[in-house]
Symmetry: D2
Subunit: 343 residues, 4 copies
């Protein structure tokens, strides 16, 4: 039984952490922090937690946090890096769901996030928490940089191809689509129902913060540096990411279906679907599964990888708890054996 805290739990990533953690048999939720909602019952903000969680929001007091075994940060960027050094120094483990420790190059980070990094010395120590790639490092990590939602889908989709030198690394295109919850839980005009419902568009066409994170991850698995065209789109739904990934095959005679099945055969949260299927986001809603299908365009050299995940689960809170399970030697599926609600 470990004691955990969730810092910044008023967002969608936060409530999703709580949903899973309240049913995790090895976890006691010790603290749930929010400066804005301090003193309020967590279940008054998130009525799905009525009957399941009796805590009130409190301040993120470092002393109290230090009494936990593990602290999750579900905060906007810039918050975790202010508290993490002190927590690590006191022996507390940290899983940061924000972007603060995802990019190894502090200058690149500052360029995309608009502020300087305050503890660049921890960037090397931080382990990028994509279990399918970094499981061994995660086991002994003290600080996990939990991957972004798009980066999880795009990396899990492309890596088997890159690692086997099967595609031209300059040919990568990721046409990705996300539900609106990816934009977070905050007062904003752009994500009102009236602005997003019955509408579809590409967004962030001049650059998205997940691009450098993805490129960093793909480059680590590729002999030659990749060039990626990354185009995010907003889908009129709450949850789910679907990625259609395109690349030019160098060798068209490979059995890609077998290759993917082999690559992920031991992975409990990656489902390589039978040929001819297309993964749909609702099949993973609320679950930590990432589904992948492989297809080819007729008569051309293009391979198309289709990926679906829940942006708030495998793309955020679920992956964080998967990382926690690995760090503490729990069964990797503990608390994550969730069946999606369908329809």
């Amino acid at each position: 039984m470990i004691k955990v805290a969730v810092v910044g739990a008023t967002g969608y990533t936060g409530v999703e952490l709580l949903r899973i953690l309240v049913q995790h048999p090895e976890v006691t939720i010790q603290m749930v922090t929010s400066r804005a909602e301090k003193g309020k019952a967590v279940s008054s903000v998130f009525p799905n937690l009525r009957e399941h969680l009796e805590l009130n929001f409190c301040d993120p007091d470092p002393k109290l946090l230090a009494a936990c075994d593990l602290v999750f940060f579900a905060t906007p960027h810039g918050t975790a890096m202010a508290l993490v050094p002190e927590l690590l120094a006191k022996g507390v483990k940290v899983i940061d769901l924000s972007a603060d420790f995802r990019i190894k190059d502090a200058k690149l980070w500052a360029h995309w996030y608009g502020v300087n990094h305050t503890c660049p010395e921890l960037l090397d120590e931080a382990v990028y928490g994509l279990p399918e790639i970094n499981r061994e490092l995660i086991k002994s990590a003290s600080l996990i940089a939990n991957p972004g939602c798009y980066p999880t889908a795009v990396q899990l989709g492309f890596i088997p191809l890159l690692k086997n030198n099967l595609v031209d690394p300059n040919s990568l295109i990721a046409d990705v689509k996300s539900g609106v919850s990816g934009a977070g839980r905050k007062a904003a005009m752009g994500t009102l129902l009236c602005e997003t419902s019955e509408n579809f568009k590409a967004y962030a066409i001049n650059g998205h913060r997940h691009q450098p994170e993805i490129v960093q991850g793909l480059n680590e698995q590729s002999d030659a540096p990749v060039n990626l065209t990354f185009m995010p789109h907003l889908v009129p739904m709450i949850r789910g990411i679907q990625a259609s990934l395109y690349a030019s095959l160098l060798n068209e005679d490979v059995n890609l279906q077998s290759l993917y099945e082999d690559f992920y055969q031991d992975e409990v949260f990656v489902d390589v679907m039978e040929a001819g299927n297309s993964p749909e986001t609702r099949s993973v809603r609320g679950s930590n599964m990432c589904r992948i299908a492989i297809t080819r365009s007729e008569g051309g050299d293009k391979v198309v990888i289709l990926v679906a995940e829940d942006n708030l689960v495998k793309g955020a809170a679920g992956q964080a708890i998967q990382n926690m399970n690995i760090m503490y030697g729990f069964d990797e599926v503990l608390g994550l054996n969730i069946v999606s609600v369908l329809p």
Copy 2:
């Protein structure tokens, strides 16, 4: 550990039964039947069950069904009554989620469902499976008539008032609203996304089959027969029922909040919310909870009871499993301790 079968599992009630049953620690799913999908993997029809259920659909062979302890019927009306007598005779217990055994008066049933009842002799034996009212009878029942979705919400809302003779039984109005899944999973024009999305309307304005079921249930709890105005509406969403119930108070000095809290104090699946709240359907999505709030109109004699439930869970599959738990002496929340996914 009991062996169960689900007959007619290709509908939304069926998949919802399976979602909950695959995680129920005291249940083995023995058979999942569908004539139309016979031979197909259940998970190929319902991709949320991939990794969770390895069965194929099969025919509802009575001999095989008779080898189970309990059979759930998730069929259209008319199917259960053809199979139930044989199953009961062989000592199999039955929970029927269809309407076949809900109405005690066989003529009234025939009037609303358009066919004659083929085993009216079982109507008295069948126990109406609303645990909050009939728990003792359910414990020893062999045949459960699982309540309809609207009837669950309307009865749980009105009964505390009627049982205490607090309202004029002629003044009852139920303005109820349901997500589209209430119409079932079948090829139909009226429930296409393009016909129901971005739209709201009352429907069945000339009479709805749930009306006689509700009236029967309310009359059992009322000294005088009730007159109910029942108006269903279709909401552009998948799941959820919200009922706004109106009645004229005979005595305006009663503390209704306390009355409801007391009435349901031992009920784990009825949540009487603090005054000033309004139950929202998403807070119970996928869960077996029924939330109720009580309010008054200013300056008048009207009480307004607001009720929210998931039509497929407390209004169907979840309640069926609650009934199963009671019948077999399991903890009533076993397999039903579900946290709603929010957002």
Copy 3:
């Protein structure tokens, strides 16, 4: 050809006014004001107006406004009353789509809107712009208080009953449902897609500002003062209001269908549907039509009136332009002969 201005045109009521006005053959849009978006092309904020309107947002300069024939206020409450006296003094006509001049009793207004009225002397002069009731007064009005969205639906539904003394005025219940656009276009958490989609609930259960406006309007048409139970609900869709109105009939022998058809026979924007129909909101999306159907509950004394309108058109901008057409002697349907887009 008249010159008009739209003050506060960055909201949903504002863009709807512009959508209709750009195609009105007797109108020139002279000014579109917004302090926040000053200088920006209107079509950059509302891309549906590309190719249709070439203006930029400007400040609501009273001198420039005074050069118009007619000024529409599509502002939050409190703004119109600050500018209207000066405009009226200069001979400019005003249609106020906000609540500033709807309630005749300044104290009651202050109670519900939380500020004191700054020009109560104009409340008597203001004509409540419900054309079906007040057409003659509208013709010669200088200041129109354009009705709220719920009040339009509820009054058009109840008035034929009240005016003919057919129902108990103490028995009125209005169970009303609105799309999310009723909450306006502003950064807010409560109306995010993720908070409202796939959800349904009653709201404002402790009182809604439209209640006193409705009661005032109903009382004017009723011999005895009414008591109204008013319960608003939020529907997961952009546009549309549906009202289910309940009342106890004093005389059950009346042919209500004929009564409504006669009452509204000359009204081009009220459609009394044939018996057995239920008006659906999508059938009036984007149009100024209000559809009404009459039904009865079986075996009781209750009449049920079903009403559908587009909250932003007949419930706001369309009705404002209908008022304008009446004020200026234009054909009442000019610019409003819109066919709803379906699906």
Copy 4:
């Protein structure tokens, strides 16, 4: 004033034709046919047409059709080709919104549509009704093959690049997304609200009928034959197509923004947006506009063309009426000067 008929008007393309035609000043709707709904008022099936169209559905009697100037076919494939030869022989003009005359190669057509073509001799005579490319031919055509929804978006997006030899014709990728109305108005399980809402997926991954139509159109504008990877996706909304088109630039020094602006400068229904914009589907909902934006991926050779249209208007009925306007020498925007309803 011309007399027109709409054959097969019970689908979404049909009702959309009627919505626009009832307000077209040069058109009298003479007949609206449907075998299934024969005798019913059109407005009873499509309530948005109440007050706007007084016709009943009738049989598609060839003699009566022959009395019209122009017949629109809004039928499933296979119907138009059975009636068109007789109508043309009698001097009636035809605009076929189905796929019957879109593909010039009868064998290729039979391969994709599963039946043999019954009048292949008309395939050469049929003019592909994409006005921006074929306006001169349309002027004198008797038989128009109205383009498919995806083909309109993809061709208008790619053609300026291909016509100017700016991209590798083997590198074309079209990642396209459509609202559910693209699947038509028919009883079907796959397009129920409960199956499509809150979900996103690629579909038709083994080949889509629009692919050969697009390739045929692109090849006509390209010096070398193209290879196209075409991946359609289903968006949980009613209307709209968004296409993200990718290609490898042969020459990276071209000013693509100017090129597109020049290419479409005389086109009233193509809107080349300023650099930095992303076209959103709601901005063209119900309108005949096709919006295009051009962007580049950072550091690579890829150009990305973003296109948005309403699949039922510029992708079907609106384009058909644009073709009609051209054929009859009407102003091309007559009846099509529609402002989208937003939100």
